[in-house]
C-alpha cells in the first residue's frame, strides 16, 4: 500500500471506504480542460463511495468537519446550489451561502472586494456561480481558498459535466467511442463547453448540433486546435442524433428569439426539438439527458423528458454524490 493510501484510510476509515487520492492535483476546479482521464475516473470512484453514503439512513459523514464552504451565487440557480449545499452538509462542512443578488454586491461592491471579505471570514472552499465567463478565475488568482466553479457565464460548468459523465458511465459502462449528441444553444452553453473537455477525455465522440446562429463563431477552429477528430459540429439534427448513445438537448432561453438569434421559438422546436420520432433515430438504448431546467415543449417533448430513456432526474441525484466527491478531493488536496 502506498503511503497516501494509508494516510487516507487512517483519517476516514470509519466513515468512508479507503480512497486513494494520490492522483489528485487540483487546488481549484475551474473547468475540465486540465483534467486527465485518471483524475476524472478518480472523481467517479469517489462519487460511487459518496453515493453509498447518500443511501444510508443517516446521510452524513464527518469528513469535512471544521471546514468552511461558502457558496457564492451571482445568478439564480436551483439545482446546482441546492446540490452543492447538500453535498457540503453531507460531508459535515460548515456552509455559508451568499446570495449575491441580495448582498452588498448590489451596493456596488466589486467581486474582488467580496472575495477578500470572504477570505477574511476564513473560507476554505468557495463554490461560485457567476454570470460572467471567467469570474471564478479571479477568485482562484487572488484568494487562498480553493475555488470550485459552479458555472461561469457561457464558459464552464465542470461539476455538471462530471455528473453527466458519471450518469453515462453508470448506464453504458463507459464513454469510449460512445456517440454523444448535444443539441441546441451551444453558443451560450457552459455545459456544452465543459462536456467537450470532459467527455472527449473519457474517449467519447461528440456531435454539437444547433442552428448556425447558436453555434459560437470560431467553434470549428477551437475543436480543430484542441479536440481534432473527437468532436463534430453539425446543423442537421437527424445527422446528429442518428445512432447516438446519448442525446442531450440544452435549455433554449426564450430571450434568444428577442435578441434576433432565432426567427421564432416555434421554428426552433420544429427543427431541433427532441421528440419520440427523432429519438428513434438514436440507438435503442440511448440515454436522454438534460442539464435543466427544461423548457418542455421547446427543446424536448414532454413524452421524451419523462420517457423510459430519460435519466434526467437521476442526473440531479448523481449531482450530489459527484459534488461531494469534488469537495472531498479539493479539501484533501488542501490538507496535504
Amino acid at each position: 500500500m502506498r503511503p497516501a493510501e494509508q494516510e487516507t484510510r487512517g483519517a476516514i476509515s470509519e466513515t468512508l471506504p479507503p480512497l486513494s487520492t494520490a492522483l489528485w492535483r487540483h487546488h481549484h476546479v475551474l473547468d475540465l480542460d486540465d483534467f486527465s482521464r485518471e483524475e476524472i475516473e478518480l472523481v467517479m470512484d469517489i462519487a460511487d463511495a459518496m453515493a453509498e453514503v447518500l443511501q444510508r439512513e443517516v446521510k452524513r459523514v464527518p469528513t469535512l468537519r471544521g471546514r468552511t464552504v461558502v457558496t457564492m451565487f451571482y445568478e439564480p440557480s436551483t439545482r446546482t446550489r441546492a446540490s452543492f449545499e447538500l453535498a457540503a452538509k453531507s460531508l459535515s462542512a460548515d456552509t455559508v451561502s451568499l446570495d449575491a443578488t441580495r448582498s452588498s454586491v448590489t451596493k456596488g461592491e466589486s467581486l474582488l472586494d467580496t472575495l477578500l471579505t470572504i477570505q477574511a471570514l476564513g473560507a476554505d472552499i468557495i463554490v461560485m456561480r457567476h454570470q460572467h465567463s471567467g469570474a471564478p478565475y479571479i477568485a482562484a488568482r487572488h484568494i487562498s481558498a480553493s475555488t470550485i466553479n459552479a458555472g461561469d457565464g457561457w464558459h464552464a460548468h465542470p461539476s455538471q459535466a462530471l455528473l453527466d459523465i458519471y450518469t453515462i458511465r453508470k448506464h453504458l459502462g463507459g464513454l469510449t467511442n460512445r456517440k454523444i449528441a448535444i443539441i441546441g444553444d451551444i453558443m451560450h452553453s457552459r455545459v456544452a463547453r465543459s462536456n467537450i473537455w470532459g467527455m472527449t477525455t473519457m474517449g467519447a465522440k461528440m456531435v454539437l448540433c444547433g442552428p448556425p446562429t447558436l453555434l459560437p463563431p470560431g467553434l470549428k477552429e477551437f475543436i480543430a486546435r484542441c479536440r481534432q477528430g473527437q468532436v463534430e459540429v453539425e446543423t442537421e439534427l437527424e445527422k446528429a442524433v442518428r445512432d447516438a448513445d446519448v442525446v442531450m438537448p440544452l435549455r433554449l432561453q426564450t430571450e434568444r428569439q428577442q435578441s434576433g438569434l432565432l426567427p421564432s421559438i416555434r421554428e426552433y422546436a420544429q427543427l431541433y426539438q427532441i421528440n419520440e420520432e427523432r429519438l428513434s433515430l438514436a440507438k435503442p438504448h440511448a440515454l436522454v439527458m438534460h442539464p435543466g431546467p427544461m423548457n418542455e415543449g421547446i427543446e424536448i417533448s414532454p413524452g421524451v423528458a419523462r420517457g423510459a430513456q430519460s435519466v434526467i432526474e437521476e442526473q440531479v441525484t448523481n449531482g450530489v454524490a459527484v459534488r461531494m466527491a469534488l469537495l472531498y478531493l479539493v479539501a484533501r488536496g488542501r490538507s496535504e
Partner: protein, 453 residues
C-alpha cells in the same frame, strides 16, 4: 535657454534620409546644427551649457503619438495631463495627440483651451488635442468644428464611440474638407460588435466570451473610405487591426483617396491568444483583462498583414492608443473590465522587437514614429518629426539594445494596465528632449554641465 550638445550619437532622421554618426546642437529650443564629430566646424566649439554623451546611442526626432488618452478633464484618477505627458517623455514621445473622450468631451473651444492651458503649465511634452466630430460624442449633431480648429485641434474624432450614422459622417467630412484637418475614425460597427469583448475566433469560442468580428471594423473602414472619396475629405483610420482593413486602405490609396492609417504596438505584437495569459498552458492566467483592448487583439495572419502594410506604406504611422485605467476599472470580470492598454512607456521597447527580429529596419521604425505621424498631422504644425535645423528641438535618444524588464510600478502613467508586465524588452529610451528641454533622462546617459564662473 540652455545650449545643448548631443555628442557622438548615431543620428537617424528619416525625414532627411539621414543616417550618420555625429553631433547635434540645440539652441533656443530649436535644432541649430548637425555635424560630424571632430571634423571641421566641430559643434563643441559652440560652448554648450550641457553636453549629453550619446556615443553608442541612437539620436532621432522625438516620437509623435497620434492617439492617446490623457483622461483630463474628468477622469484624473486614471491619468492626468501631467502624468500622461511624463509617461510620454519616458517613452521617447515629444508630441502626443490626445483624444477628446474626456468629461466634458473636447467639443467646445473652452474644453480645448483648458487642455492646452494645463498642458502648457503642467505637461512635459507637446500636447495636440483632437476635437470631437459631434457634440457630446453622441453622433447626432456636428460639433463646432471650425471653432475647434481655430482653438488648435489637429483632427476630429469621436474615438471609442464611432459615428454610426453614415449621413452624419458624410456631413462631418464635407464640413471639415475646407479646414484640411483629418477625420480620425475609430472604425467599429457597434451593431455588429455589440457587447463583444475580444476577437471573434477560436479563443472566444473556447473561453465563452462574446467576440468582435473583424467585419465590425472592416465594414466601417469601407464605409469611411467611400465617404472620403465622396467628400474629398482627409480620412485617418485609427488603430487599424485586421488584414481586411489593410487591404481596404491599400486599394483606397491606389485609387487616390486621401486616407491614412495608424496601427498600435499591441496589435503588431500580440494575438487574441494573449487573453489566455502569457502562458496558455497555465489555465489560472486565463481571462487576462490587460489583454482586453478595442479593437481587440487579433490573429497571427492579421499581424502579418499589418506588418506588410507598414512595409509597403499602406499604414502611415504607429500610434499607442495609450488608454490608462484605474485598477478598479480593470481588475474585475473580463466582460465588464475597461478596454485599453497603457502603452506610452512600453511602445518603443516593444516595437524594437520588430527590428531585432528583422521585420523592419531601424530607419523604418523611426520613420513610423516621427515623420509618418507628422505627415498625418499635416502642415498646420510643421517642423514636427524632423531634425532639420530651425525646427523645434524634439529629440529622442535611445539605446537600441539595452535590455530591461517591464514593471508597471515604475510607470509614470497612472495606468498600470499593461499586457507586457514582466516582459524582457530590448531597446530603451534614455533621454527625451522636448523643445530644447531635457524632460526625461535615464541615469545611464552621461551628462556634463558647464561649470558656471
Amino acid at each position: 535657454m540652455a545650449k545643448l550638445l548631443i555628442r557622438g550619437g548615431h543620428i537617424i532622421d528619416p525625414s532627411q534620409g539621414l543616417d550618420m554618426t555625429g553631433d547635434l546642437l540645440v539652441k533656443d529650443g530649436r535644432v541649430a546644427a548637425l555635424g560630424s564629430t571632430g571634423t571641421r566646424g566641430d559643434l563643441a566649439a559652440n560652448d554648450p551649457d550641457i553636453v549629453l554623451d550619446a556615443s553608442g546611442l541612437t539620436v532621432c526626432p522625438g516620437f509623435i503619438d497620434l492617439h492617446c488618452h490623457l483622461r483630463q478633464p474628468g477622469f484624473e484618477d486614471a491619468e492626468t495631463i501631467a502624468t500622461g505627458t511624463l509617461a510620454a517623455a519616458r517613452g521617447g514621445f515629444t508630441t502626443v495627440c490626445c483624444m477628446p473622450n474626456t468629461e466634458p468631451p473636447l467639443d467646445t473651444r473652452a474644453a480645448v483651451d483648458y487642455v492646452k492651458q494645463v498642458a502648457d503649465s503642467e505637461g512635459y511634452v507637446r500636447v495636440l488635442p483632437i476635437g470631437c466630430i459631434t457634440k457630446g460624442r453622441k453622433g447626432t449633431e456636428l460639433a463646432e468644428m471650425d471653432e475647434l480648429a481655430s482653438a488648435g485641434v489637429v483632427g476630429f474624432s469621436d474615438d471609442g464611440g464611432p459615428v454610426a450614422s453614415s449621413r452624419i459622417m458624410r456631413l462631418a467630412m464635407e464640413y471639415v474638407s475646407r479646414l484640411g484637418l483629418p477625420i480620425i475614425d475609430h472604425c467599429e460597427d457597434k451593431s455588429l460588435s455589440q457587447d463583444g469583448v475580444m476577437n471573434e475566433g477560436w479563443v472566444s469560442a473556447r473561453l465563452g466570451l462574446k467576440g468582435i468580428p473583424a467585419a465590425a471594423e472592416e465594414t466601417m473602414v469601407a464605409r469611411d473610405i467611400s465617404l472620403a472619396a465622396l467628400t474629398s475629405a482627409r480620412l485617418h483610420i485609427a488603430h487599424i487591426s485586421t488584414r481586411g482593413s489593410v487591404e481596404l486602405v491599400r486599394s483606397a490609396k491606389e485609387k487616390g483617396v486621401a486616407v491614412t492609417a495608424e496601427v498600435t504596438p499591441h496589435h503588431l505584437l500580440l494575438t487574441e491568444e494573449r487573453v489566455m495569459g502569457i502562458n496558455p498552458d497555465d489555465n489560472l492566467s486565463f481571462y487576462d483583462v490587460n489583454a482586453k483592448a478595442n479593437p481587440p487583439l487579433r490573429t497571427k495572419e492579421d499581424i502579418a498583414a499589418l506588418i506588410q502594410g507598414l512595409r509597403d506604406g499602406t499604414i502611415d504611422a504607429i500610434a499607442t492608443d495609450h488608454a490608462p485605467h484605474t485598477t478598479v476599472d480593470k481588475l474585475c470580470e473580463f466582460n465588464i473590465a475597461a478596454f485599453g492598454i497603457s502603452g506610452l512607456e512600453t511602445a518603443f521597447g516593444c516595437l524594437m522587437s520588430l527590428v531585432h527580429r528583422g521585420e523592419m529596419d531601424l530607419m523604418m521604425l523611426i520613420s513610423l514614429l516621427t515623420c509618418g505621424p507628422a505627415k498625418v498631422i499635416g502642415t498646420r504644425y510643421s517642423g514636427l518629426g524632423t531634425l532639420r535645423p530651425g525646427c523645434p528641438a524634439d529629440i529622442s535618444i535611445f539605446d537600441p539594445s539595452k535590455e530591461w524588464v517591464v514593471d508597471s510600478r515604475d510607470f509614470a502613467s497612472k495606468g498600470k494596465n499593461t499586457p507586457f508586465e514582466g516582459q524582457l524588452l530590448r531597446g530603451k529610451v534614455l533621454a527625451t528632449i522636448s523643445q530644447g528641454k531635457i524632460v526625461y533622462r535615464d541615469d545611464a546617459l552621461r551628462m556634463r554641465m558647464k561649470r558656471r564662473a
